[in-house]
């Protein structure tokens, strides 16, 4: 039997509370060391909501379960209950949401146990989170009848590249909804979706699939209402480029697993449609520093020189040939065509499904190819306006949609293209 993801003391408190309208999970501790920072944010957000909803805030601040000790009126205290707990292992800067899987599970379980009408999960750095951020995530789920609210962050063109290059366009092509950040990491969920995710988790606990990439596909597959909310500007911690292959494996592994699980759903979906978006976008932050494109291109070329044997287990000969040809181009002419990138991703998804080689090896070996795409993209949009960047990304998403028939053919008849 699976252990309960909620620590015992917190579980006892939840059972004592009984029920609530809203559960808000704050997955990261306050870097400024304020114990009541998260509670204050939620209180301010709830103050702007009509109807006086009751809320339980579960803060992953590493402390034992404790009731709120924030200086506030007893009525307010009753309305917003704060439970501090330790939901995940030591938190590291830049932890991808997959590492917080247990924390997400705990929040969803708490929401299910409390019978909440809506649930908000805040996984971003608390220094950037505002009351409006929380309000925009939970209000559509609590008052507008939406089941899933995904975030839209204002960022510059070189932010969230793994999401821009693979996760978002792949999700759009598979499930037909144009969502900027299908993997959050901040989310707003309705009680209905919460129960669905909760049921799914309890039905297949042995799979231990990270709940983060499954949320959006689960909502779409169940025909639920999905929307986006402009929340603001995220604070992104610096990342050691050496950890990139781990990040690629951590992000893409669950995405490919989920793709396998939902194969029957996405094979029926054609085309894509936009989803409603709430709130005005904040102005994007200034770009700082420079990207070392030369080093990235070198990574791609070293990959082509050394990983051909590994890639040839996943990629068909035509794609391999194009990749090798690309590596021989002079640096100033280096451009990776969208069609090539799309077929690489689809072929890797298939190889992941077929377990052609160890899944960890497969995912980590994607890193040089991904860096090749990053170089190509960075060169194209270096001086582009935000609108031009949008249209560039739209073109990539369309290429993913156009390549879906190729994915479906290979998914159904894997050997046909690999004699």
């Amino acid at each position: 039997m699976e252990p309960d993801p909620i620590p015992g003391e917190t579980l006892e408190q939840i059972e004592r509370i009984g029920s609530t309208d809203l559960v808000i999970g704050v997955l990261r501790s306050d870097p400024e060391g304020e114990d009541d920072g998260a509670a204050r944010l939620v209180r301010e957000a709830l103050g702007r909501l009509s109807g006086g909803a009751r809320a339980v805030v579960i803060h992953n601040n590493g402390t034992a379960a404790s009731a709120s000790n924030v200086s506030s009126s007893p009525v307010e205290e009753e309305r917003v209950r704060v439970l501090g707990c330790r939901l995940a292992g030591p938190e590291l800067a830049g932890t991808p949401p997959q590492n917080l899987s247990d924390a997400y599970r705990a929040i969803f379980t708490a929401g299910g146990k409390l019978g909440a009408r809506a649930c908000g999960v805040i996984a971003s750095d608390l220094r950037a989170v505002t009351p409006q951020w929380i309000l925009r995530l939970v209000e559509p789920a609590l008052e507008e009848g939406f089941d899933l609210v995904t975030p839209c962050y204002s960022g510059h063109k070189f932010e969230g590249l793994l999401n821009k290059s693979i996760v978002a366009p792949l999700n759009r092509s598979l499930y037909g909804a144009r969502i900027q950040n299908p993997m959050g990491p901040d989310f707003g969920l309705s009680g209905k979706l919460l129960q669905q995710v909760f049921r799914q988790e309890s039905r297949s606990p042995a799979l231990q699939i990270s709940p983060v990439p499954t949320i959006t596909p689960t909502a779409i597959a169940a025909g639920m209402q999905v929307c986006e909310a402009n929340v603001g500007v995220r604070l992104l911690p610096p990342m050691d480029p050496k950890d990139l292959s781990s990040l690629v494996a951590q992000v893409m592994g669950p995405v490919f697993l989920d793709m396998e699980r939902n194969a029957a759903v996405w094979q029926r979906i054609r085309g894509s449609h936009p989803v409603p978006r709430f709130g005005d976008p904040a102005s994007p932050p200034q770009e700082t520093g420079t990207a070392d494109l030369h080093r990235m291109l070198e990574s791609f070329q070293i990959g082509v020189q050394n990983l051909r044997d590994v890639w040839s287990l996943a990629l068909p000969p035509k794609t391999m040939l194009e990749t090798v040809r690309l590596a021989r181009l002079p640096p100033d002419q280096f451009r990776m065509p969208d069609e090539l990138w799309v077929s690489i991703i689809y072929d890797f998804a298939l190889a992941h499904r077929l377990r052609t080689i160890s899944r960890d090896h497969l995912l980590r070996s994607m890193t040089p190819l991904y860096l090749g795409w990053v170089v190509s993209y960075a060169r194209e949009v270096q001086t582009a306006t935000p609108e031009a960047v949008e249209s560039r990304l739209e073109r990539l998403s369309r290429a993913f949609e156009a390549g879906k028939s190729y994915l479906m053919s290979r998914w159904r008849w894997p050997d046909r293209f690999n004699p």
């Binding site: 991808p96 960022g155 510059h156 070189f158 932010e159 969230g160 590249l161 793994l162 999401n163 992104l236 610096p238 990342m239 050691d240 480029p241 050496k242 990139l244 292959s245 990040l247 690629v248 992000v251 770009e287 700082t288 520093g289 420079t290 990207a291 070392d292 080093r295 070198e298 990574s299 070293i302 990959g303 020189q305 050394n306 990983l307 590994v310 287990l313 077929l354 377990r355 052609t356 080689i357 160890s358 090896h361 980590r364 070996s365 890193t367 040089p368 990053v374 960075a378 050997d415």
Partner: protein, 234 residues
């Protein structure tokens, strides 16, 4: 005197011929047993091959992550490997049956010796297969890791790891088979000890400053990269 010599020669010839004649039925039985075993082996392996082809055994082995077995198989076909192994086992059984028709004591000695040695052979085969799989896995891990660290000599590093594990595996298998014995152990002791000592000397004495400079350069490069990097991947 010549009569006695002739008589002795005649007796010797009769003795040899009679002994040879007494072997003939056994030899005939050996030939028949071999012939029958070849027929049975051919028939059984033919059926087995068809069955394995029908269930796509080669593809299943490849997809099942046993690509190393595929590469070690004749014509890269595990089906061929399995059928050949079965074929030779059947021939060996036929040969033993034929031998027992010639001389039961010799056969029983052979069988006892063979069965006594079989566990060592199985252990050696298991060590070889496991070592091969581990070598390939480690080699691939090192290759991918080294490429992701932008190391130009990634392939060389991976090949080094692979052959180190394979050579170690072969030595262990030979140890199980009782071949080489002390020489193998001694050889490995000298080789590994030599490599470790050479590396220790190189790092500790000869390249101390070079290694220090290299580590410092790498550390400062990482710090500079972190501060300069304007890209965020997730």
């Amino acid at each position: 005197m010549w009569g006695q010599v002739e008589q002795s020669l005649n007796q010797a010839m009769v003795r040899v011929l009679s002994q040879f004649a007494s072997l003939l039925p056994g030899l005939a039985a050996l030939v028949v047993a071999l012939f029958v075993s070849i027929l049975v082996a051919g028939l059984l392996t033919g059926i087995l091959r068809r069955l394995l082809v029908r269930i796509q055994f080669d593809e299943r082995m490849f997809r099942g992550g046993l690509s190393s077995l595929v590469e070690w198989s004749p014509s890269k076909s595990p089906t061929l490997l399995v059928t050949r192994v079965i074929w030779w086992i059947l021939i060996l059984i036929g040969f033993l049956i034929g031998l027992s028709a010639m001389d039961t004591s010799l056969t029983s000695k052979l069988v006892v010796g063979l069965f006594g040695y079989l566990p060592h052979v199985f252990a050696a085969v298991i060590v070889l297969v496991a070592g091969n799989i581990i070598a390939r896995f480690l080699s691939r891990s090192v290759l991918i890791g080294a490429v992701n660290m932008n190391l130009q000599y990634a392939r060389l590093l991976a090949a080094g790891v692979k052959w180190l594990v394979i050579v170690l595996t072969v030595a262990m298998a030979l140890e199980h088979l009782g071949i080489g014995g002390f020489i193998i152990r001694l050889g490995f002791g000298i080789l590994f000890g030599g490599i470790v000592l050479a590396l220790a000397l190189a790092v500790g004495l000869g390249s101390k400053e070079l290694v220090t400079r290299s580590l410092e350069r790498e550390a400062s490069k990482t710090a500079a990269r972190q501060s300069e990097e304007s890209l965020s991947h997730f």
